[in-house]
Amino acid sequence: MSIRRGVLPVIEELRHATGLSDTGLERAYAVGGGAPATAGRTADGQLMVPAIGLRHFVPGLRKELPDARQRLIDYLALNFEELVYI
């Protein structure tokens, strides 16, 4: 999906599903194993990470949020029109 739609929409949906700010997402990215130096900002000031590093958000949210399971389910449900797993 990061290939089809780009990294920014993925981060935007993740921000909407988790309720975290860019700072919180950047922290979750680093906690999840992403290199902090690879997280940056665009010219508009939006959070940007490498597409291959998006997976680090998942373990990061697990450690940062107590209700990470429900947030991740919300994120999956947000993309119901794009991808259905079950």
């Binding site: 999906m1 990061s2 290939i3 089809r4 993925v10 993740l14 597409a51 291959i52 998006l54 997976r55 958000f57 998942v58 373990p59 697990r62 399971r69 991740l72 389910i73 994120y75 999956l76 449900a77 993309n79 119901f80 029109e81 794009e82 991808l83 259905v84 797993y85 079950i86």
Partner: protein, 218 residues
Amino acid sequence: MRSSRSVPNPKSSSARTAVGAQALAPAARIPDGDTEFGRTMLHVHVMQPDCADRLTGLAQADHEVVERLALDAPKTIEPAFFRDQRERRIHRQEARDPVVIEPASEGGTSDRSAARRKTRVPRTTGSGSFEGSEAWFMCASLDGRNRTSVRFVPETGRNGIIRRPIQPPGGMPRVSATGLSQDVDEYRRRLSEQPDEQIDAWAGELMRTCRSGAVCCR
């Protein structure tokens, strides 16, 4: 008792009077171009030009007779095993008169003759090109399955049938036909029944990429 007269050494300096082999002088000399075998040979010139080593002014093809039979009736003298060589191929796997039908689960008919009357796909030509066929059909004819999940049934000879993917006329595939969730509520309910590891794996997969052509793509 040894003889008092000894045999002289032919290699010694005093062998002038010794006994030795002596080549006889030939009675007549015959020209021999190849003396490897030690006997005279007849020279055979592969090229025997009519004229000497000079430029040929007139005819270049000497003693050549045009066979009118070969020009007038080439088919009659062509060997039988040379005919239709250009039509031969090692692998001939294209479908003959294939038709496109809808799966029976979507209201399609299982009658191939009726389906053939309904939709007919142009067959391939002898040289392998496709006339008027679509790209996905071209992919389907190369093998049993192609990238767009179009199932190709090559085992039926002239009754080859290409099945369309599960897709309604509107264009969007029907998720319900695949057994997936029909709406968000059901999808959320099914997700809540999954373990944490599965949720994490799907979330990571969703963030990473969406493989085009998968059944679950909507």
